[in-house]
């Protein structure tokens, strides 16, 4: 398998003086194309910080992050933003959908940010809403949708740029157990491919079964753990 993301000895500190904390400690991380990798661990273990650093959102204080061999943190701010826009699809824990836009417009946002034609972007958005089974919700505002449907809208928004890396932050945190499982199963079956790598931060053990590999984080350090070990816990 080809390496999609590689982080080498990355560190992150927050705060100053006595309040200074070492959030991520000398972490090495690797995720391959065709792989669905989970990062799990208790709150405050540093998993969200790690996720932010490997996705080009938070600059590590030391260490390197490469995506397909390219050092993303050597890019200028605008180039990095453009990189995220075209190569990485984000699904946020709280979805962060604009309530004043229609579902289709929310999904089309990444293409609009790429200066694509409005009608073309909306047409693609409707197509991706079909992929996530929400084709009949295109004209509704997100607030009219259920939590699971909003999650699917966020997924449609994440895939519309056809990114080769997808980042999910606690995708099941706001959903009931069955809906959460259905969503992750859908992601596994429909979105994972040989040309795409999916990284999910979660502490929901009910969806562990869908992971290829699970990394456990504790106190800012990563412990490589096999899925079976966690299943047994």
């Amino acid at each position: 398998m080809t390496t999609a993301i590689q982080a080498t000895s990355i560190n992150k500190w927050f705060g100053e003086g006595e309040a200074r904390t070492h959030a991520v400690k000398d972490v090495n991380f690797e995720a391959n194309f065709g792989e669905m990798v989970y990062v799990v661990g208790p709150s405050g273990s540093g998993k969200t910080t790690l996720l932010s650093m490997i996705s080009g959102i938070l600059r590590p204080d030391s260490g390197a992050v490469t995506i397909e061999g390219a050092d993303i943190w050597s890019l200028a701010a605008d180039a990095l933003a453009e990189f995220r826009l075209r190569r990485i699809g984000f699904v946020f824990q709280d979805y962060h959908l604009f309530p004043r836009l229609t579902t289709a417009e929310n999904v089309a946002l990444p293409l609009i940010l790429q200066h694509r034609d409005w009608d073309e972007a909306l047409s693609e958005a409707r197509r991706d809403l079909e992929v996530v089974g929400l084709e009949n919700r295109a004209r509704l505002p997100p607030v009219k949708l259920s939590g699971g449907e909003q999650q699917r809208v966020a997924i449609a928004r994440a895939i519309i740029s056809r990114p080769d890396i997808m980042i999910f932050d606690e995708p099941t945190a706001s959903l009931d157990g069955d809906t959460g499982r259905t969503i992750v199963q859908f992601v596994r079956e429909h979105l994972l491919s040989d040309k795409r790598c999916i990284v999910i931060v979660t502490h929901d053990s009910r969806i562990y079964e869908f992971a290829d590999r699970i990394l456990k984080m504790e106190d800012g350090r990563v412990t490589g753990v096999e899925r079976s070990e966690l299943d047994a816990q």
Binding site: L85, F98, R100, L109, L113, W118
Partner: protein, 383 residues
């Protein structure tokens, strides 16, 4: 090109703004009323200033010679006759004529008294005569003849017609014509025109009798020399515009009118700024997480800034348009029902209100832009 590239982003910004109907309405109402009040106040002031110079505007002479202590056209300080002769003898003067400008108490047909402005035009030239709408200007030379001005104060003379008579200091006066002028007077009194000598006969006078000397230069280049020579004699020669500015300065700085209007305009500005600024900032705050999410997805800071600036500009211009429209409508309605209503919208009023709206929009968007620039996409992940 940039606008074309940004059109999708601006369209998103537009939808975010107008689809939040409550806030959009609050923003529009805030700016509309601020603009309305600012234009209304400054228009009233402009109207007052224009009316304060009504005689100068209506007579229309190029140069006015007066005593240097004159501050408003209504408070003329009579000039001795020899000044007229001196001015006439100046090189560069095409002609110079006397003007009488004063006030008198008329006794109307029903026995009531009414104050009136009396303008006495030079008997030989009738320089500064108004535009006749009934009768003939030559009739001003008839016995006891006066011409009534059909302005907003006309009705106070019991809406006279040709042949209507009145009394002025026990003299009989007779309306021989009706005329129109560009501007009504500031103090709400009607105006009558007659000849200079009849005005002197009818109205008690001091030793000197000429209110102003109206001068026409041979060429515009002669104006400076005429002013200089008149000043050398201890008098003041001002062009029409200079005289109007002098009057305006008096009302602006030496009466409370200017200060009060300025205060009201400032209050309107502050109210508009407060309402719009606060509402717009709340609007940004409510969407700040989503702006952060956009940043995480890959929006550049300048794109988010352009969204906010577009929203602020759109609200400001729409509110400005509504404010101007509302003000124009109200002034039109007020004029239809209140003949004395002095408000007048000028390009300066519109420009001033526009500048203030731009400041409101810039201030409102400044804090929003700052907030959006400071939000870190990492904060979105951290929740």
């Amino acid at each position: 090109m940039i606008l074309e590239l940004q059109s999708g982003i601006l369209r998103i910004a537009y939808k975010l703004l107008v689809n939040d109907r409550t806030k959009f309405a609050a923003l529009l109402v805030g700016i509309t009323f601020a603009v309305f009040l600012m234009i209304e106040m400054t228009s009233l002031f402009a109207g007052i200033l224009m009316r304060s110079s009504a005689t100068v505007i209506n007579i229309g002479a190029s140069i006015w010679v007066m005593d240097p202590s004159v501050q408003t056209v209504a408070n003329a300080i009579p000039l001795p006759n020899y000044v007229l002769d001196e001015v006439r003898s100046l090189p560069g003067v095409k002609y110079a004529v006397p003007l009488y400008s004063g006030s008198a108490l008329l006794k109307l047909r029903d026995g009531s008294y009414q104050a009136a402005n009396i303008v006495g035009l030079d008997d030989t030239s009738l320089i500064g005569s108004p535009q006749m709408v009934a009768g003939n200007i030559q009739d001003i030379f008839a016995e006891n003849a006066f011409i009534a001005i059909e302005d907003s104060e006309f009705y106070k003379l019991e809406s006279p017609h040709i042949g209507t008579e009145f009394e002025l200091n026990d003299h009989r006066g007779k309306i021989v014509g009706l005329a129109r002028v560009s501007s009504s007077s500031l103090f709400g009194v009607p105006t009558l025109y007659t000849t200079y000598y009849r005005a002197l006969q009818y109205i008690p006078n001091t030793r000197f009798t000429i209110s102003y000397i109206l001068v026409e230069p041979k060429t515009p280049a002669d104006v400076a020399a005429i002013k200089e020579r008149v000043a050398a004699d201890g008098y003041l020669a001002l062009t029409k515009d200079e005289f109007m500015s002098k009057i305006s300065r008096f009302y602006m700085y030496q009466t409370g009118i200017g200060t009060n209007m300025l205060l009201m305009t400032l209050i309107s500005f502050i109210v508009g700024l407060s309402i719009s600024g606060q509402t717009f900032y709340t609007f940004i705050l409510e969407n700040i997480d989503r702006f952060g999410a956009l940043k995480a997805i890959g929006a550049k800071s300048r794109e988010l800034v352009s969204m906010i600036l577009f929203q602020a500009t759109f609200v400001a211009l729409t509110g400005y348009g509504f404010g101007v429209g509302l003000c124009a409508l109200l002034i039109w309605l007020a004029r239809a029902h209140l003949p004395d209503y002095a408000a007048m919208i000028t390009f300066l009023n519109l420009g001033l209100a526009f500048v203030m709206v731009v400041i409101i929009a810039a201030s409102s968007s400044y804090f929003g832009v700052r907030k959006v620039l400071l939000i870190e996409p990492f904060d979105i992940f951290r929740g």
